[in-house]
Symmetry: C2
Subunit: 131 residues, 2 copies
């Protein structure tokens, strides 16, 4: 499998973990160190796996359903790092409210032996396209 294909597969695993609302799957997707970072739409920057993991637990506890259709997936690999942009077309149900939203995401992955691990997720709304 090429690096580009492997990165796209790692990215798909991230969104499947998000859809499953399953912290054990998230644990396998991310690197677990103090350098990992995450920006959920509108949230401040989270730094370190402990803070990032806690944010997923909070989101999963407050989300009934989440379905992603990805578009515009573009991958660039370079040595030990790879980065990817995509549009997250999201159908979600949070506290009984169903919403359709488009979010732009930048995801950075680091090579960990034969796997790519997520080290940074930056997601933000496009103005006029928020749900």
């Amino acid at each position: 499998m090429s690096d580009d294909d492997a990165l796209e597969a790692a990215n798909a695993r991230f969104y499947r973990a998000f859809e499953a609302l399953d912290i054990a799957q998230m644990d396998r997707v991310w690197a677990h160190d103090e350098h990992v970072k995450c920006v959920h739409p509108g949230w401040p920057l989270l730094v370190g796996w402990t803070a990032v993991r806690a944010s997923w637990e909070t989101i999963f506890a407050n989300t009934a359903e989440m379905r992603f259709t990805l578009s515009d997936v573009a991958v660039v690999a370079g040595g030990e790092l790879g980065w990817l942009t995509c549009t997250e077309n999201i159908l979600s149900e949070v506290r009984g409210r169903v919403a359709v939203t488009s979010v732009l995401a930048t995801n950075v992955f680091a090579r960990d032996r034969d796997r790519w691990r997520l080290v940074h997720h930056h997601a933000s709304h496009v103005l006029g396209h928020t749900g």
Copy 2:
């Protein structure tokens, strides 16, 4: 100079070019290919140097003054790529209106011989902190 120091210097050049509202400086900061990408706060994803460069020309034409103070700068280098997160504390004047804003940025750089060139800029507002 270490990769981390060189990346931080390349990042500082990007914000100096932005403050100078100088497209010639921007030209020297960015890689010039079809893979470069840019997300200005609330904008859709721009793909390719032609589209990214045009966005800077539009922003510079509509901005009277822009001053950045960066905080929380964190750098990770890995082979041919490097990525950096920072908080842009911005004093700006657009169409006569002065605003103070905090923006989160993810900047990805690619090694180009002895230089790091910007290949991706993703900037987004923190809700409750927009100017």
